[in-house]
């Protein structure tokens, strides 16, 4: 064996990891999840009072809470308010945003209002909304709409503005009527932006609904959490948090899937706002 062969056979300084258990993403994720749960359990066990939520406690009460009729009613109240508010915001926000994106005057008239209300934390106007709508479900719906509307409008506006000029020129050279230009060119072209806006809006809408329930004390997941944590039933309260997380993640996944499935030409980071 020559020296050169020996050198070639010698181990390189950095050994590439061999394919094995630890290279399967699934195993890694499972292990990380287990580690997080164990760490949570251990920390609560060691440092916190007995009533604090911990994985074993949540697992014990989970089935009972989820089948409780009051819990289901609360979940339904919150989620239907979020969906209703989102639908209203999508309808109004798309219309406002596309008008802003395509018509300069509308954009200049609304610009400062939309931008500054988008930057306003929805919590800050809660007292105002309760003054207007009363301490009831309407105020919650209004909070959800306020939380969701502006991010949709701003993204729809960006989308409508970024419609490639060539598309519009083609539409014009075929003498397309304005409504066909709107529904067949502008709207589809701004969909990726719109979806990014809806994704952002969904998260904000969820926060809005929960925060409104804290403030107004009307039945819903937020109030369920508030009530149970006040009576030191943290495990029960945390089940509601899990539902909220599941809805948030589920919606994120749904929008991501819709974008990949129906708008594969949209580049992800282009529409991130």
């Amino acid at each position: 064996m020559t020296a050169i062969q020996q050198a070639a056979l010698a181990k390189p300084e950095r050994v590439e990891p061999r394919e094995g258990m630890l290279d399967s993403p699934f195993v890694l994720k499972l292990a990380a999840g287990a580690a997080l749960l164990i760490a949570w359990e251990a920390v609560v066990h060691a440092f916190a009072p007995a009533y604090v939520a911990r994985p074993s406690g949540i697992a014990r009460v989970f089935a009972e809470v989820v089948s409780d009729r009051r819990f289901l009613a609360a979940a339904w109240a919150t989620l239907s308010a979020v969906v209703e508010g989102l639908l209203i915001s999508i309808a109004l926000g798309t219309a406002a945003g596309i008008a802003m994106g395509r018509v300069g005057t509308v954009e200049r008239v609304l610009r400062y209002y939309v931008n500054s209300l988008f930057a306003t934390p929805m919590v800050a106007i809660l007292p105002l909304l309760t003054l207007w709508f009363g301490y009831n479900a309407d105020a919650r719906l209004a909070t959800v709409v306020f939380a969701a509307f502006f991010s949709i409008a701003i993204n729809a506006c960006d989308g409508a503005r970024s419609v490639p000029l060539e598309y519009l020129e083609v539409a014009r050279s075929f003498r397309a009527r304005p409504r066909y230009t709107l529904f067949d060119v502008v709207l589809p072209a701004s969909l990726p932006y719109l979806l990014a806006g809806v994704r952002l809006a969904a998260g904000r809408a969820l926060v809005g609904a929960v925060v409104a329930e804290f403030f107004i004390s009307i039945p819903g997941l937020g109030y369920f959490i508030l009530f149970n944590s006040r009576t030191f039933k943290h495990n029960e309260a945390f089940v509601a948090v899990i539902v909220l997380v599941a809805v948030g993640v589920g919606f994120e996944a749904l929008v991501g899937w819709l974008t990949r499935r129906y708008l594969p030409w949209a580049r992800r980071d282009e529409a991130a706002r």
Binding site: R108, G203, G248
Partner: protein, 254 residues
């Protein structure tokens, strides 16, 4: 001609703002005081609060809370994200959980924090921190995920040591993504700040809004909201500036 259209544009914006002010004023006079207060009353109330030093004091209290939480979030989120950038296995293991926490409505945790930590500055700063940390972490990890392995290989081929690898590849590559995260954190942190001031011990601008609404002092409430809106707009612009400042670094690798 061009000058004329530009002038017309400014005129549209100015007219719209003036119209908004008029509508605000008139609406205040047409409705009862419990619904809405005229712009003049709101500004008067704001001036009075500013003269008495209340506004400055409460604003400073809010800002201290906000800045503490936000800086902590950046100090934890960005290095942790970078670390996950360097350790791909850990990144794969944890990225789904980070995404999950990123999508979690953190307000839902406020009642737990209240009953565990009670009142005071720490639990409120914790709320701001929780609102702000996951956008930073999530976006940094997203950036880390998109580092091209070739870049690391080239650096290795040129015998970069660990420190040089971080300085020349990892940090410049992930920083623009971190900045996107910081922009989101700036906005979310503000929501967290007001939520903490509402639902934990009342303080700062949140307390001013609450007191205004409880005393039916609508002008005072609107003045406090207006201050928060202005702070929000300024912070939003600052965040966007930060993001654009570093966006050029993203280069052609998208």
């Amino acid at each position: 001609m061009a000058r004329r259209t530009r002038w017309l544009r400014h005129a549209t914006v100015a007219t719209s703002l003036a119209l908004g002010a008029v509508v605000w004023e008139v609406a205040g006079h047409l409705t009862t005081g419990a619904f809405w207060a005229p712009l003049s009353a709101t500004l008067g109330s704001a001036a009075e609060l500013a003269r008495g030093g209340v506004l400055l004091q409460q604003g400073a209290s809010s800002l201290r809370l906000y800045v503490t939480g936000l800086l902590l979030a950046i100090a934890v989120g960005a290095p942790l994200g970078l670390l996950l950038a360097r350790l791909p296995r850990l990144r794969v293991a944890f990225e789904d959980y980070i995404m999950m926490l990123y999508a979690t409505p953190m307000v839902a945790l406020i009642p737990f924090i209240l009953s565990l930590l009670g009142f005071g500055f720490t639990p409120k700063a914790l709320v701001v921190f929780l609102f702000a940390v996951f956008p930073v972490l999530y976006n940094t990890v997203e950036g880390a995920r998109s580092i091209r392995p070739e870049l690391v290989e080239v650096a290795r081929a040129f015998r970069s040591n660990e420190w040089e690898l971080w300085r020349d590849v990892m940090i410049p590559y992930t920083l623009p993504f971190t900045m996107t995260g910081i922009r989101q954190a700036i906005a979310r942190g503000l929501v967290g700040m007001v939520a903490a001031e509402f639902f934990l011990s009342p303080s700062g601008l949140g307390q001013m809004i609450m007191m205004g609404s409880q005393n039916f002092d609508t002008a005072g409430m609107l003045a406090a909201i207006l201050v928060i809106v202005l702070i929000g707009v300024a912070l939003m612009d600052f965040g966007r500036y930060l993001e654009n400042r570093f966006a050029a670094w993203r280069g052609y690798t998208r």
